[in-house]
Amino acid sequence: MRIRFEKRLAPSRFMLVATPVASVVLTMLLGAIIFQLLGFDGPDAIWQTFVTPIVAPYKWQDVLTKAAPLIIIALGLLLGNQAKIWNIGAEGQYVIGALTGAGLAFAMPGAPAFVAIPVMIAGGIFGGMVWAGMPAVLRTRFHVSEVLSTLMLVYVAMQVLNYLIGGPWKDPNGHNFPQTPPFTAAQTLPHVIPGTVIPPGFLVAIALTLVFWVLTARSVYGFSVRTVGVAPSAARYGGFDASRTVWSTLMISGGMAGLAGILESMSQLGQINLGFPSGYGFTAIIVSFLGRLHPLGVFLAGLILAVTYVGGQVAQTVVHVPEATAGIFQATMLFFILASDILVRYRLRLVRGARRAAAAGAPA
């Protein structure tokens, strides 16, 4: 008797929703057991990581602050991932976007806020698009895999950042530390919308979630992207241009990453320093998969990941678990969701006898 996978005719809607929830729950269970074995208070560590940030109102602002860039970047990535065009270089586009916006800010120091802010935001989007445009050219003109080129360009972007903040853009009043000058009041956004706990980036994330929902569910473009991903040859017959899909998905994901970068630097730090690249671009890939490549799913997944970040820090101070565990949690959650992916597309069936049924074609 053995287990066999049988392809479903249509993806299971129940599994589509149930598996991410199950992944989170399983991660919590497994985490509790492992922590207990390691000599920590397992249930408390899990409680602090996953529940405290949700039940303690004073943590909400932190969760939303973390969630905003994750959601914005992951929304940008989901179209590409649906079309099986893998942009894993959002981290680099995030950095270049922020740098472009910052460069514009330094170029027009006296501009009033109503000029500076839109220009910087547009610059951020543009910078991210340019950085994602290179892999798009390489893919469409030279057949270079975008998986590899986007990843390579992340490390080039890091060096661009190091060069600019330690050289031409170094803050003259910064005691010679590698960092840009602070943005002026006209070039910054508030941490939170006054009177609330909502950071401006999160408002943008909510709006974009709706935009992407319409785009994926209701537009021809969204349909064409999915078709390219699922059935490239059918897409070709349907008249959907493959290289246009490459270009558009990379431009969207790069632009979103750049937007997240400039918003983060304008509303949170107010300058750019060595610590600016903090991995949102990579974590957003997890978010897009955890959210099942659906805008609403991505929105929720971004919140969940943000909770584990914030909760991981709470657990560090309260239960004294090492920081590394936050990464383990995120990876475990992603492992579970990826493993359970198969349940959406396949049905499990117990097969009697025929031990080598699955390998029937193997050479004798």
Binding site: G39, F40, D41, D44, Q48, T52, V55, A56, P57, Y58, K59, Q61, D62, T65, K66, N162, G166, H175, N176, F177, P178, P182, E264, Q268, L269, G270, Q271, N273, L274, G275, F276, S278, Y309, V310, Q313, V314, Q316, T317, V318, V319, H320, P322, E323, A324
Partner: protein, 364 residues
């Protein structure tokens, strides 16, 4: 209101659990609840296992724990990025009832100032920064004093007249070290030259090893380093070049060739500040401690050092302690030969803190 209830619940529960979890703690039976200990928090840049900067700060924290047992209760958060995510962590520590919070890296400067505004009752101490407030002090250690000791030894021990310096980034702290090392060596041997390699990283064992091999190959026979790993010392041991440990006694990595090491000892500072907090005398200072106060300590001198070298080194240490010696006393020229400090003048702390030029004799 609810918020505060939540918090006290969390902290009390946590407190009892940590007490119960301390298997090896003989203090369990003692009335630990009699007087609530004062909570002190830390945020670290690296993991406590980096065997470098963060490791040394954590040792300082443990020294504080040991010295004021029962009176203080410390906690820490490691791997805190130098971006906006430091803000919620600091708020968290403040809300959890920490009365004194040490932020142990330069990149937490603005975040510290900002959170300090929200919690006027909580004291903050920022390491290596320059922004202060009513409840924010700054502190640093004069590691360049130790560099002068190393330079003195290097000037006497070098046969080739070329000594090497493995650096990280061109920030004032590192530039001070390079200059102190070179000036002190030139005081012993005016012809001495320092070759400098910056690796653009605080911690990268493979690159550190390669850089030290390069320096030795280019004729350096004594090497000092301002990066965190002991990789360079191991190379020196193999290549029979004299070397100095960084941050801690690294003799076990170079038993034959380590001459001495600069040990980062934060314990005395942390203990003194905690005591000041307990007796109510805490005020925001700009502390820059050194040999005299005990935050810079040289490891025991190697038996490979001749007596006259040991004596010269001891004289420098004694001079720093009683104020009769300062390596940054004119005349000092920069790399171009221009006089930066006139004869007999001592550089002021405010100039040292922002230094960005190398002295004559440094090759970079």
């Amino acid at each position: 209101m609810r918020k505060e209830n939540d918090m006290s619940l969390v902290s009390r529960r946590n407190f009892m659990k940590t007490a119960a979890a301390g298997l090896a703690a003989p203090a369990l039976g003692r009335a630990a609840f009699a007087a609530e200990p004062v909570k002190i928090g830390y945020i670290y840049l690296g993991p406590i296992g980096d065997f470098g900067w963060t490791w040394a700060h954590n040792k300082g924290r443990l020294a504080l724990d040991a010295a004021l047992k029962g009176q203080v209760k410390t906690s820490y958060v490691e791997n805190v990025k130098e971006d906006a995510s430091a803000i919620p962590i600091l708020k968290d520590l403040a809300q959890q009832g920490n009365k004194l919070i040490f932020t142990t890296s330069y990149g937490y400067m603005d975040q510290t100032i900002e959170v300090a505004k929200l919690f006027p009752d909580v004291k903050f101490e920022h390491c290596t920064g320059y922004k202060r407030a009513d409840n924010v002090g700054t502190y640093n250690s004069r590691f360049h004093q130790g560099r002068a000791v190393e330079g003195t030894i290097a000037g006497l021990m070098s046969k080739t007249g070329t000594i090497g310096y493995l650096g990280s980034y061109k920030v004032p702290e590192v530039v001070l070290g390079v200059n102190a090392f070179t000036l002190a060596a030139q005081a012993q041997n005016p012809k001495i030259k320092t070759k400098l390699v910056m690796i653009d990283s605080w911690f990268d064992p493979a690159k550190e090893a390669a850089a030290v091999q390069t320096l030795i190959n280019l004729g350096c026979d004594v090497i000092a380093q301002h990066t965190d790993s002991p990789a360079g010392l191991q190379v020196c041991e193999q290549r029979k070049a004299w070397c100095f440990g960084q941050g801690a006694d690294m003799k076990k990595f170079a038993p034959k060739t380590q001459l001495t090491a600069i040990e980062d000892i934060w314990g005395p500072y942390y203990i003194s500040r905690a005591k000041a907090l307990l007796d109510g005398s805490w005020k925001p200072d700009d502390a820059w401690w050194g040999f005299k106060e005990g935050t810079v300590v040289m490891s025991p001198f190697s038996s490979a050092m001749p007596e006259n070298v040991k004596a010269a080194a001891d004289k420098v240490i004694a001079g720093w302690k009683d104020g009769s010696y300062d390596v940054f006393t004119g005349e000092i020229r920069d790399q171009t030969g221009a006089v930066k400090v006139p004869k007999g003048v001592r550089m002021e702390d405010k100039d040292l803190a922002v230094i960005d030029w190398y002295v004559q004799g440094v090759q970079s």
